[in-house]
Amino acid sequence: MVLIEMKDVSKSYKGLVLFENTDLSIEKGRIYGLVGPNGSGKSVLFKMMCGFVFPDQGTVTVRGVQLGKQNRFPDNFGVIIDRPGYLGNKTGFENLKYLAMIQNQITDEQIKDAMTAVGLQPAARQKVKYYSLGMKQKLALAQAIMEDQEVLLLDEPFNALDIDSVEKIRDLLFSLKEQGKTIVLTSHNQEDIDILSDHVFRVRNYGLEKLK
């Protein structure tokens, strides 16, 4: 079943051509890897899939509904885009609670479970501004999965993680896939992409080239 579909998409940003007449189909319950050099447009592709950026031409469809000015953001998406965002003077739990309260769908226990799943201690009183880069990355992952999101768009989810944490997050992503989640991720580490991905695309020549 096709969950996200991009058809004939073109996008330029500040005069720089990123995509031209590009097509992509993302099927439910699979893991997709995206590779490509810095600045090739991987993040912009993510932003188009979830409505932050509009294609100059072509369409983006999620669950059969075209994203646009009237229907901008798809439901049930967990995202890490560009960098982990956080409120520095709050604890990890408080940060997640702040986000969870927007939809008010999950309990504190579910927030704590998400934190534990990525290797963070929910009871820690340490403020996020004192977190290491790896801990911030884990917090970003926790917010992406805590509401049991159906689709995860993860831009460099393994950034700054130590070897043990990488293993843990890989296992987590596999288990999410087994639960039927759809995951699209980018990584500069080919090993992550090779191990995790059912399908791999490379951004090249303003389009997507299928590698696997």
Binding site: Y13, K47, C50, F52, V53, F54, K69, R72, F73, P74, D75, F77, G78, V79, I81, D82, G85, Y86, L87, G88, N89, Y98, L99, I102, Q103, A140, Q143, A144, E147
Partner: protein
Amino acid sequence: MSMRNSWPAFNWLWLVPVIGLYAWSIRQSLIAISEIEESSSNFWDLLLHGSNDVYLINYLMFPLFLFRIGYQLTSFYEYTLLIRFGSYAKWIVRQALDFSLFTVSLLLLWNAAILSLAIGLPFSMEWSEISRLDRDGNEILFTLSSFFSSPLLAWAGQFLLFFLTLTTIHLLAALIYVVSKSRWLLNSFLTLMFILAVLSFKVFPPSLKWISLPNYLSLFHGIASFGHIIIPFGVLCTLLLMCIGSLWLIGRDYPLFRTQLKEKWPILAFSGFILFALVMKAVQFRGQQLTLSDYWIVSFLGTTQESFDMLSFSFYLIVFLGFMYFVQLFLQTQLKELNYTSIIRHRSMLKWLFGWLTKLFGLILLFLALLMVSALMTGLAFDYPLIGNSVLFPDIPYPPILYHFWVNGVLQMVFYILLVILVSLLTEDVMKSFAVLLGMSIFMFPGVNFNYFFPFGLNSMGLLLETTPLLQHSAVLLIYTLGLSAALVYLLRKKDFNF
């Protein structure tokens, strides 16, 4: 550290001829008065004049002592010494004791240098005839002789006052240095003390007597300003006790306090500045028969197209654009940190915007309430009457003042905030919006904002004194705010979000 360091070495003897030269000029003026008034003088006249003379104190002795404080504290702040003292407090006490010895010895040298010029003047333990003369140029002796039964007591009083002041400043400087470990901060504090001494001597109005340093450096000045001997000593003893009391807090670890201070210092500094400015305004207009509402108006006068005052303009910018600075920090978090993760949950840019815009609206109300309460409390503290006949302004009743402060105040702040958000979204850079706001302050200059049709500075309280109806300002602000809101909605719906 040897005790010898506490005593002025021989190289301080260069002071003797310098002080001597100044004392010579004092002696000559005393002789002149003596001849004109045909009154006798004695050596106390020269000694008391020389030790209470603010020129000599402000421009020679006080800076030397300040230099010594800076030198001593930085030279002996070493870990090899600190570890032997066992605590910062003990180190500070030891420094204070050493400095006290230095102060006493340099004070004695100062007095000895003056006394060396007293040779030939009669010795007596009584006030001279000159000291009883109430005439120009003899204020020091006349004031002191009016308050003290003998010149020896007046001399001891000046010695003690100067000693207490220097010891207090030394303790304050030591506390600042130990807490901050910053030479820059220490030197800034000492420089500030010097500037304060110079400014408060010539520039400060009499109403600022409590922070006028010469009142604590020269007994004559203190008595002349406060009209009492005890007050300058009382102030100094209170400060000294506070410094000694705070020694107990030094060196302990207060992680929460330090963290809070580090995070909150911009807000504390901002609040402190506003309170300071309000107090200065209250002092400035005291005694001019202003009512409390008048004081409220002058506090947030801003500018009008007919009158422009640089201080009021600057204060307006600092208060309202200062608030906008904090709004921008908030925006920075919303736009740069909590953007994608937050928006994707709201599933609507507008819902996301209103989610935190309502918080900002609450902050505007709180800010204006705090400004109003601070101004009214300060006015009451300075005895501005609640009602009365205003001299400076025509009588303006409270309702229009309240309307202008609150309605136009809120509308103006909302306009600033919407503008900042709009510019931030357009430029994808929050800080550029602050530059735009600053640039727009040009509309507060006289003649620039034709008929007040441009929505900047329209909550200036000075507008209450003009003929343009307040409702016009509200209408202008409302129209622009609605226009900005429409533009914002359009942008949020149509534009890529790329922070």
